[in-house]
Symmetry: C2
Subunit: 151 residues, 2 copies
């Protein structure tokens, strides 16, 4: 519940009122759950729903679905698909881009940043006359924990 989260909540409230959308208990609860967990974890709808219901039992799956879609549109969440047939959401922190290392044994997800890769990527795109909107770079393999002596 650091400074960043306050900013995220504020950004949400601002974005809602800017667009004439309503501030509801459900939206706040779902956003809280997401802002709490979605910075480190990559949460699926089911998991967000489960956590939101711990705080307010009345929250329905469809509301979670629609709220997360909304957060994506507002630029506060990013949808990710890691190929397990599940949409996952992570907090979109302004200016903080990163990519992922995904363990195929324990499903742990690590993040990495490599400016030199980003730079090369720009060149590749330019060479094809391509204007980048976004990208994803996912490395699948076995993490240190899983390949260790006990792994």
């Amino acid at each position: 519940m650091g400074v960043t989260q306050k900013t995220l909540e504020r950004r949400l409230l601002d974005a809602l009122s800017e667009r004439g959308l309503r501030q509801t208990g459900q939206r706040r609860t779902i956003a809280d759950v997401f802002f709490d967990g979605g910075r480190q974890e990559h949460l699926g709808l089911e998991e967000i729903h489960r956590r939101a219901r711990q705080r307010d039992r009345r929250i329905g799956y469809a509301t979670v679905y629609r709220t997360m879609k909304l957060l994506s549109e507002l630029g506060l969440a990013q949808e990710r698909r890691f190929g397990d047939g599940l949409v996952r959401y992570e907090v979109a922190e302004a200016g903080h881009h990163h990519d992922h290392l995904i363990c195929t044994r324990c499903a742990r997800i690590l993040e990495f940043e490599e400016p030199r890769i980003e730079a090369l990527q720009e060149r590749v795109a330019a060479a094809h006359g391509f204007t980048i909107e976004w990208h994803r770079h996912e490395i699948y393999g076995v993490c240190d924990r899983c390949s260790g002596p006990a792994g």
Copy 2:
């Protein structure tokens, strides 16, 4: 229908007999369709099914599904998910790794290879004690055709 295709067909037949699996008309037709189109295009099951039925109207969707799964297991096809909620297949050419530029306007998919990115990726993984199994690097944006004068 170049040299490579012959090799792919041969590889399929060899793999089938090696494992005591049967060579059927459907499998040959589906593989042909896929080997013809899957090197340049990234075909979904529906499309493969459609094309296969042009050659043999009796071929069912489930057979396409199972045959493509089989080709993946045999190492002749690679499953790709570009986030449009559709599994796509492309021919796995031995030793020829590449990544993708995906146009968000016309859905055209270009391929690229950049050894320096691959090398940096190795370092990133090593720094996290991570053993790479495979990766995907997808760049989404607008292609030259779509951003041109008429675009």
